[in-house]
Symmetry: C2
Subunit: 447 residues, 2 copies
């Protein structure tokens, strides 16, 4: 029997999954978690948020054999369904035939991942323990119980901080290190979640196997299906300004806003204003830092690279951190200083990459998604990629349906965009000739 | 008698000066300071750093009538004296005849400013009190005594955090606010201070009224005169890498480095290796954040916009914060919510501006200062500015000898640079014709 030990701060998605990996390598894993056990408590307001699992996430789950357990609770979404102001629908597949992203409830997934961490990972999880600091070099985690105020000390061979965007390990211990680079940058938009209930017969009020979007320029509403017939919807809009959350103060404001902006949604949910305050208004930030490791301690997931949700890659990227760390554990035979050094050098560009991609998609959704030229460009790209799959993989597919590094996908996407803009500029009648052989040849020449 | 009250966190340069302003407006001022009273303790190692007071700083001091007291301890530097590898000297004046920046000892200035805060500002300073948090909206400052651990609570009408680059108010209270943008970014270089003693007869070993620079590409040494005949010298170089602080480990390393890189300096100070470890190695960072105010609390100086020292403007900018806040106090008749709102909106671009200028000068000093084309450009600019002072004020003068906003000076400097690069590119023989009428006309056309 080995006596290797690891402490993980945070029993969220990444922390719970990483426990399974460590256990597989023979580590006795302890997890300390600030919140109470969500499996015993009612899931609190605002925690109904849904996530979109995609290829990178599945790989990380399947590598330790827990993917199938999650597939049971995941609903495939094969494309996006756009709702215009008149209630007309248009549909765009996400990838090739059969390719999908998967809607999962964050709360449900987290509870299942905790079960897996305990049952498959033999991890012991201590709840209500706030991390007050870490001796990063010695691998000692200090906690305080949120109710009893009891203080505890955990010693182990390695420590992993998977404690989220506002990581206590990073704030209390890494940020005070000499020469630690750090930034938190909020975007203008915030979000509020709305639960669209199932029909009275339990059926879905909207197509189940699509991600629904109501794009309205400066703000948008999205909806992802839950297992019970309901949809978790998220409204993104500016926190302040002319059309913003701060202007929606009364029930009348909310009703008027939904009636005029999302009339088909309002018809399904005429009591929207009643539910309005149930879900808290949340802010959105990009958090970057470096280094990600110090001594015996490493940051993983949102603690290292929290991003905005516009590419649906936050969790997938956090799960991929596990894949990467695991491969490096094999490569360096668990020589942790070497593992940590290569982990942060290799992975930091991809943390930046997923953030750059997410921010770019935020601007695309904000400013370009309704632009006919942008839509035409995407149509030409899709057609070209279909004909020449070996020569052109759309950036969305690179991010969502491949294991290409985020940093490389970001660069490739920018290159594709340059090529397409140049090609389209060469044809004044591009709207008419977009699927012609000349355009195809021009792209082939430009690649 | 008024019963208006203010608490300032930090008895540094900005906090001490701001106390005088507040007192002038009738506030009873309390200052809490983390460190012991430097006037009673020996000035600790590494605190010998010298600062360059320039026009903005003098204005802030003179507005409350304390400039003359500081002039007594300030040594004018009319230009920079460059030392090449052979020990040859070259001299560049900073501005027009009589314009100077002024060398002052940080420790000496701070002690004097504390005297002034107490005597002129009637401020009460409490030492060894660490700020553990601020109720930003209520204006309550919480402190803990560093030795006795006694906890204290200060209530006042307004609170000012002038507690430096690693502001406890910002870290403990502002950074946890929702939607607080924050970044700390370290540059590659660090610095170490060296005290070059006076000659045995008390005279200066170098020209007193100049700022001395030994520019050596990727690293440089500077020296500023002290009142007692000594010079405070600062060596800037990368923290890590081929030629870096981490490579200077032994006395032999240090001797060899100075002998080959700064031979004329080494001759003056052959015992440099003995003094090497006396002064700590320090890192350099740019710290940005926003908002700067919340409720009854405002950040000032380095707490709001700490910068790297390559333009000599950190203190001057902090002092100018006082000028700006003071003008807004008059404008809004001490309606603090209005004062704070305008202060942060007006002043944030200039905090960014002084940082952008400092970073740019860091790159100039690192990469361009030894470039003959760059030197030629500066020579042409100087000549043109001399002929057309109404049309061209060099960016260095805008920053150092004017009250032009930092943000405007930064933009003007970039515009000047564009013009000069374009003009110089038009003359293949620019080295020969640099002071010709054609070049002058070309610049006149481009402005």
């Amino acid at each position: 029997m080995s006596n290797k030990t690891a402490t993980i701060v945070g029993a969220g998605l990444v922390g719970s999954l990483w426990a399974v990996y460590l256990s597989k390598a023979g580590y006795k894993v302890t997890i300390v978690e600030r919140r109470p056990d969500i499996r015993k408590a009612d899931i609190s307001a605002g925690k109904s948020i849904n996530l979109a699992l995609s290829t990178r996430g599945w790989k990380a789950l399947d590598t330790v054999g827990v993917g199938d357990e999650i597939r049971k609770m995941a609903i495939p979404m094969y494309g996006r369904m756009m709702h215009d102001l008149q209630g007309n629908l248009s549909y765009q597949p996400y990838g090739k035939e059969g390719q999908a992203i998967f809607s999962v409830s964050r709360g449900g997934l987290n509870a299942k991942m905790m079960d897996i961490a305990e049952q498959v990972g033999n991890a012991q999880i201590f709840y209500n323990e706030r991390c007050t600091g870490v001796d990063l070099e010695k691998g000692i985690v200090y906690t305080e119980h949120s109710e009893t105020k009891e203080k505890k000390v955990y010693h182990s061979d390695v420590v992993f901080a998977a404690d989220g965007a506002f990581s206590a390990v990073r704030y209390n211990s890494m940020q005070t290190l000499d020469r630690f680079d750090y930034s938190q940058k909020y975007i203008e938009d915030g979000y509020r979640e709305i639960l669209l209930p199932a029909n009275s017969d339990g059926s879905y009020p909207l197509e189940k196997n699509a991600l629904h979007i109501w794009p309205r320029g400066r703000f948008m509403l999205i909806a992802l299906a839950n297992e019970n017939g309901s949809f978790t919807c998220t409204l993104f809009m500016p926190m302040k300004g002319e059309k913003s959350f701060e202007r929606l103060k009364t029930k009348a404001d909310v009703n008027e806003f939904f009636q005029t902006t999302f009339p088909d949604f309002y018809k399904m949910m005429p009591n929207i204003a009643d539910a309005w305050e149930n879900h808290p208004l949340s802010a959105l930030a990009i958090i970057r830092c470096y280094p990600w490791t110090h001594g015996k301690t490493a940051l993983m997931g949102d603690a290292a690279h929290a991003t905005v949700p516009f590419y649906g890659q936050g969790m997938n990227c956090g799960f991929e951190d596990c894949t990467v760390m695991w491969e490096l554990m094999q490569k360096h035979k668990e020589d942790w200083p070497k593992v940590f050094e290569e982990y942060q050098i290799l992975r930091k560009p991809d943390g930046d990459g997923v953030q750059d991609l997410s921010l770019q998609n935020y601007h695309v959704m904000r400013d370009y998604v309704a632009d006919p030229m942008f839509q035409l460009q995407k149509k030409i790209e899709a057609r070209f990629s279909e004909k020449h799959p070996d020569k052109w993989m759309p950036v969305y597919s690179q991010v969502t349906f491949s294991h290409i590094r985020y940093s490389d996908a970001f660069k490739a996407g920018n290159r594709q965009d340059e090529i397409m803009k140049a090609v389209m500029a060469k044809f004044p009648d591009i709207e008419k000739v977009w699927d012609s052989e000349e355009v195809e040849k021009e792209i082939l020449k430009s690649i």
